[in-house]
């Protein structure tokens, strides 16, 4: 594995060149933009189901486990805010959810980084249910009625199931970003 000075420096909290930081931020922003496009894409002409996975949730979880500095809480907040503006839900709900997910995952990072992929996936499933449950509760509170539970469960399950392919893609992206494997 090639030694990349910038990622080495970044992981150890040392000084990083402005160009490298800018490149890193730009690439992550691009990834978030692509995922948001994917979240909003009208799949109507392929007659897909109305439930779709929460790609941004996967991205936030992945970055929080492997490279928390790349997508800091502010980044998660802004991504969530953009998603809120796109959907017609309460403003700030997705922002809040993503920040909470990033924060909680970062605290569990020490345990998660060394684990096998299966454990990582299982934890993501739990996180997905927690995030969707939280959104369901907030939504019910916002509209002062009890929202239906089935769409929430369906969304959580579908999101969890889509994690492996997305994680594979993000790992490849991560390698591009730094020139070395993220699980080191």
């Amino acid at each position: 594995m090639s030694f990349d000075k910038n990622s080495y420096a970044q992981d150890r909290g040392l000084e990083e060149s402005f160009a490298s930081a800018f490149r890193r931020t730009a690439l992550v922003a691009l990834q978030i933009a692509v995922l948001m496009l994917l979240s909003a894409f009208p799949f109507n002409f392929w007659h897909m189901a109305s439930v779709r996975p929460a790609f941004l949730l996967m991205a936030v979880y992945h970055w929080a486990v492997f490279r928390p500095r790349t997508l800091p809480p502010v980044g998660a907040f802004l991504a969530g805010l953009l998603l809120d503006l796109l959907t017609a839900g309460p403003l700030g709900l997705n922002a809040l959810t993503l920040v909470a997910v990033q924060w909680f995952t970062k605290t569990q990072r020490r345990f998660l980084v060394g684990q096998s992929f299966l454990v990582l996936w299982l934890c993501f499933f739990l996180m997905s249910f927690a995030a969707y449950g939280f959104q369901w509760a907030m939504f019910s509170l916002f509209s002062l009625t009890l929202s239906p539970v089935r769409p929430m469960l369906a969304g959580a399950v579908v999101t969890g199931l889509f994690f492996p392919p997305m994680a594979g893609l993000m790992n490849a992206f991560n390698k591009r970003l730094s020139g070395r494997s993220p699980s080191v």
Binding site: L14, E15, L37, S39, A40, F41, P42, F43, N44, F45, W46, H47, M48, A49, S50, V51, R52, A54, P72, P73, V74, A76, F77, G80, L81, L82, L83, L85, L86, T87, A88, G89, P90, L91, G92, L93, A95, L96, V99, A100, Q102, W103, Y132, Q135, W136, M138, F139, F142, S143, T145, S147, P148, R150, P151, M152, A154, G155
Partner: protein, 289 residues
């Protein structure tokens, strides 16, 4: 290792990093409260964001639509001959209906004149494509790339295929957001065709819609058509929505005629909305006979 920050700023930096998630969480909660209490012009912000996103999404999805259309063209090539025969037969039948319709129209007009009824203004449409479906599990809405520059207003009905699929809740210059009839917050004043019973059609975030505010002795049958009643002045009357599929103790359920979740091409009925009735809510008094 020399660091840019001086010794005195290190504690602040640590607190700053630790406190950021808390601050952001509080900010998120504050935004939600502001949204709920209408303290900020959230709608305008959202419309502005949609105005930027809709053209982008339109450009991005265009190649896929073109590809899908050409694929569809290749697929139907095989059935061309049988389709042709079928269409010719259907055309002959429709010609007969057309003659009958002309006759009924003339009769209708004369009866209207006799009763001195004012005819509905002719409806105009704007045909456009759905470019974004960001809804998710809790909110059902879609984005259209046409807005006030195409004379689309807030409250306009949106149809796809054979029936109503939603109505416009926010209209920017280049975009508009449509709340689908299946969304939890959707309430449409309707009338059942056979019995002329008036009710309110509510979305339940699922495939079926539920009729609310029904009179006790409604006596509804499965298969009856449900259409907009035009009460409230927002939606034009007699727009078909769906048919009743279940009548029971849980309630009366309606299946939409149009494919609400996979609508691609839609028509927005941009008839003039009565401004004096725009902000009013649907009250039971309005539904009383």
């Amino acid at each position: 290792m020399p660091q840019k920050a001086g010794l005195s700023t290190i504690p602040f930096k640590m607190i700053g990093v630790r406190a950021t998630p808390v601050v952001l969480v509080l900010l998120g909660l504050t935004l939600m409260v502001f949204h709920r209490t209408d303290a900020l012009p959230i709608e305008r912000l959202r419309t502005a964001a949609a105005d930027v996103m809709a053209p982008v999404m339109s450009a991005v999805t265009q190649p896929f639509v073109t590809f899908s259309d050409s694929f569809e063209g290749i697929r139907t090539l095989r059935a061309l001959k049988s389709e042709n025969i079928r269409l010719k037969a259907e055309n002959e039948q429709l010609q007969q209906w057309y003659e009958a319709a002309l006759k009924f129209q003339a009769e209708n007009q004369s009866l209207h004149d006799l009763l001195n009824v004012k005819a509905d203004p002719s409806l105009t449409f704007v045909t456009t494509r759905v470019v974004a479906d960001p809804g998710g599990s809790f909110v059902k809405s879609v984005l259209l790339p046409s807005g006030t520059k195409d004379k689309i207003q807030k409250g306009n009905a949106v149809m796809s295929g054979r029936g109503l699929i939603g109505r416009v809740t926010e209209a920017g210059v280049h975009s508009s957001r449509v709340l689908l009839i299946t969304d939890l917050n959707s309430r449409i004043p309707v009338i059942i065709q056979n019995t002329r019973t008036k009710a309110v059609l509510a979305g339940k975030n699922g495939d079926l819609l539920q009729l609310e505010r029904l009179p006790i002795d409604a006596g509804l049958e499965i298969g009856s058509r449900v259409m907009t009643s035009g009460d409230g002045g927002q939606l034009p009357p007699d727009v078909p929505i769906g048919t009743i599929v279940a009548v029971g103790k849980d309630g009366v359920f309606v299946k939409p005629l149009a494919d609400v979740d996979s609508a691609s091409w839609v028509q927005v009925i941009n008839a003039d909305v009565d401004p004096s009735l725009m902000s009013g809510e649907i009250t039971p008094a309005m539904l009383a006979h």
